[in-house]
Amino acid sequence: MGEAIVVTSGKGGVGKTTTSANVGTALALQGKKVCLIDTDIGLRNLDVVMGLENRIIYDLVDVVEGRCKVHQALVKDKRFEDKLFLLPAAQTSDKSAVNPEQMKKLVVDLKQDYDYIIIDCPAGIEQGYKNAVAGADRAIVVTTPEISAVRDADRIIGLLEKENIEPPKLVINRIRNHMMKNGEMLDVDEITAHLSIDLLGIVADDDNVIKSSNKGEPIALDSTSKASISYRNIARRILGESVPLQSLEDERTGVFSRIKKLFGVKA
């Protein structure tokens, strides 16, 4: 029996889809059987980020309306051996095409076959959000170090606390270390104190995330990138490992600083 995790934020554009794609990928890399569900009906993106757009035959709405079986609609990610699947959203309908009961039933069905169901939630707190949350056991709230995103995260946490699920966990995305150090951006401690929920991980703002999204390859596949390590750490924490937060300091790769490091001089 698997576990369903909804990835939500309230505000749009903070990185829900990117987080869903990468956490799902990182969990699959850990050998778990993962199913991603895109619930953003009418504005689907997860398939694009995963690079699976061309293989979609059926979608979420086809499944709930009985036009096909669930396994027919699931798109297999060939980079993994039967570990990662995507249930894409419909592009032609809207959020009202699905109701929370249908979502709940669908998620319960999928939990039989998968270790983790990652549900990508649309922005907002209306029907789409209600659908996404309906079947979830756990929730990940994504925010960025901006006051507007934190405000919306606070609102969504309030709504999630009313649901019958575990207390939500926080992911702070798009951290720019130099701004945080100067105090121009809310820092990690400030955000977690304000929202008073547990921190699941932090992800630095990284140009490579956009690059790899555009290529349809989740950054978690590229083991050298910093954001990739962040997402892999988040996946490990979901699996119950205790992984310390990675440092946000930029790695100095110059010869001089490497010599300094060798001699134990602090940069």
Binding site: R151, R155, G158, L159
Partner: protein
């Protein structure tokens, strides 16, 4: 049969007190009241007004019935009704009274978009985040940061106060007064353990917690000790 009269009139320093029997029917009572008052107090010009208090005992009277009784007394020119007392109130009224004096405790964070409303006092163990709102008929006590909106005495009680461990509200409201946070707050401003109240000019003032004891002695409900 010599039965006890339904209406007894007693004179006191403050005026007259009418003790009404609570066992007879309301109709009988009205009749006897009217008879007694007519018999004893003839209309006389120039006599000073007499205040009358009505004691209805264990009889529950609706507002209309109270008004009927008052009307009977008022018809006698030199009588004015001061107060109608009753030993009984309805369950609803009693529950309302209890609620108004009760302190409700709430543990947790009041988040953006959440509204908490109580008719009495409220104690919140946790923060009130921006966009969150607390409404209370009485006082608001917050063991945490007040960053949202707090409205104490929202039924118009201007005596109500707002107390917070860290006072950085977006708005404070007490009764029908309103106060907004300054647009710019100095970083090093101290906001530890403060209380807000309405001063003589009707302005909301934020002050040290220590002044509360003198300004609103009624808040203390603790009895005993020394």
């Amino acid at each position: 049969m010599n039965k006890k009269p339904n209406v007894m009139i007693k004179g006191t320093k403050e005026g007259l007190t009418l003790h009404l029997n609570d066992q007879c029917s309301f109709h009988e009572l009205k009749k006897e009241l009217d008879d007694k008052l007519s018999a004893h107090y003839r209309e006389t010009e120039g006599t000073p007004l007499l205040t009358v208090n009505i004691q209805t005992g264990n009889r529950y009277l609706t507002d209309d019935q109270v008004e009927e009784l008052k009307e009977i007394v008022r018809q006698k020119r030199n009588l004015v009704v001061n107060e109608v007392w009753s030993n009984v109130i309805t369950k609803n009224e009693a529950e309302k009274l209890i609620d108004e004096r009760n302190i409700e405790t709430l543990t947790g964070v009041i988040r953006s978009g959440q509204v908490v409303e109580v008719s009495g006092d409220i104690l919140i163990v946790g923060d009130v985040n921006p966009g969150g709102k607390v409404l209370a008929g009485g006082n608001i006590y917050i063991l945490g940061s007040l960053k949202g909106i707090a409205h104490a005495g929202h039924n118009g009680n201007m005596e109500a106060v707002i107390v917070a461990s860290k006072m950085v509200p977006s708005q404070l409201r007490i009764g029908d007064s309103l106060n907004r946070a300054p647009d710019r707050v100095e970083e090093d401003d101290e906001h530890e353990m403060e209380c807000a109240y309405v001063d003589d000019q009707g302005q909301i003032v934020v002050d040290r917690l220590q002044v509360l004891k003198h300004l609103r002695p009624n808040i203390t409900s603790f009895k005993g000790g020394s």
